[in-house]
């Protein structure tokens, strides 16, 4: 069954059809939530909340990109969760180390030494952690653009902001992360070390 047919069936209340959509998109939705929240449990909660909300409001879906619609839903769930955590700062949003040491990330590529692979892994972990220090608007824009590879236009539609706002938020996020990187030259390749 194609996506449009599944959506129409879900709009009639068919949970099984909606679950097929869940299976198709849950990895992407969860990864967006994880990069925004930086915590497995919080990301899982936001993902579950997003799918429940999506099913509840699927009659409001009027066509277009279903993936963007889902990502908007999970982004909103993350906003809510971040506000909740902001009110309760005792709960940590630090990245969990185990998640950032996946085997594929640590193993060297074909043309890479083990030392280079380890440095690359450290660099990526640093970027993922530093992104969590960004303000939510900048963080979400950075995740959608540079981690998920979405276009400016897609992000503007998803976040319901202007194209200029997306560009501004993204450039600010990149500048802050880059400055943080340059302050840790030991993480950078040799050509950056002064």
């Amino acid at each position: 069954m194609d996506e449009d047919a599944l959506i129409r069936a879900a709009q009639r209340g068919d949970v099984a059809s909606f679950n097929q959509l869940v299976l198709a998109y849950q990895s992407q939705v969860y990864n967006v939530a994880y990069r925004i929240m930086g915590d497995q449990a919080a990301a899982a909660d936001a993902t579950q909340e997003a799918f429940l909300s999506a099913f509840s409001h699927i009659r409001d879906f009027r066509g277009g990109s279903f993936k963007s619609w889902l990502l908007r839903t999970v982004t909103n769930a993350c906003y809510d969760a971040l506000r909740y955590h902001k009110r309760r700062p005792a709960q940590s949003l630090e990245l969990e180390d185990d998640d950032e040491h996946s085997l594929a990330d640590v193993l060297p590529a074909d043309d890479e030494s083990p030392a280079d692979a380890a440095e690359r892994s450290d660099l990526r972990r640093f970027i993922a952690r530093a992104a969590l220090q960004l303000p939510p608007d900048q963080r979400i824009t950075f995740v959608l653009s540079d981690v998920q590879g979405m276009s400016y236009e897609e992000i503007a539609e998803l976040m319901n902001v202007s194209l200029g706002t997306v560009k501004s938020r993204l450039s600010r996020a990149r500048a802050r992360l880059r400055d943080a990187l340059l302050a840790h030259e030991e993480l950078l390749p040799d050509e950056f070390r002064q």
């Binding site: 209340g13 949970v15 099984a16 909606f18 679950n19 869940v22 299976l23 849950q26 990895s27 939705v29 969860y30 990864n31 994880y34 990069r35 497995q40 990301a43 899982a44 993902t47 579950q48 799918f51 429940l52 909300s53 099913f55 509840s56 409001h57 699927i58 009659r59 409001d60 998640d99 950032e100 996946s102 594929a104 990330d105 690359r120 660099l123 990526r124 970027i127 993922a128 992104a131 950075f142 540079d146 981690v147 590879g149 400016y152 560009k167 501004s168 993204l170 450039s171 600010r172 990149r174 500048a175 992360l177 880059r178 990187l181 340059l182 950078l188 390749p189 050509e191 950056f192």
Partner: protein
Amino acid sequence: MRQRLTEEELISAYLDGEMGSAERAAFEARLTQDVALRRRVLATRLLVEEAGNLPAVALPRNFILPPDAGRIRPQAGRPPTPFLRWAFRFGSVAATIAFVALVASEALPPAAPAAQPEMAAPELLQPMAAPAGQAQPPDEAYPPPAQAMPPTEAADAGPAAPSADAPAISPRSLPQAGPPQAADAPPPQADRPAPTRPLAALAFVLAAVLAALGWGRRR
């Protein structure tokens, strides 16, 4: 700051291929001369590349909905009726107004009661008193306030509060004077909460509940 932001946006536009050919050529010309700018551009490019290569995280579990998910929120997604929508909006506005009124009533000092002669300045009351030669003896039923009523805190603190030695002023001579008070009448309670405060608080609570309901429905 503005110049810096503009330059950061230029860097992003350059890395994302959002520049026209002329603008790109001009920016690359700057890169050959400005070492610091070149370093920032290279570091930003490294950041964007590595962010795009962050490993995907494995799912901790499946997120499929239970078969009875349709019954979990049978009314979710149904917009409120127009009446409720306006009621919720009115609740938000009413809550704001009531809150401001409540805060204002708490913040503003209570108005001095007009029927308390000891709160008034003697120089203002002097013309109202009878001439010295025609001074009437104090009426036993309406003794001077300084004798009949214990001085309030305001009277103690105020420099213009009349003492027992001050010329006696009969409350009768005051046009705004209230009903006569017996000698054993309780002292006036100037700091008693105004009757509007509980009403404002009640209105605020009711309106806030209504606004919260509307907020919950919008979510």
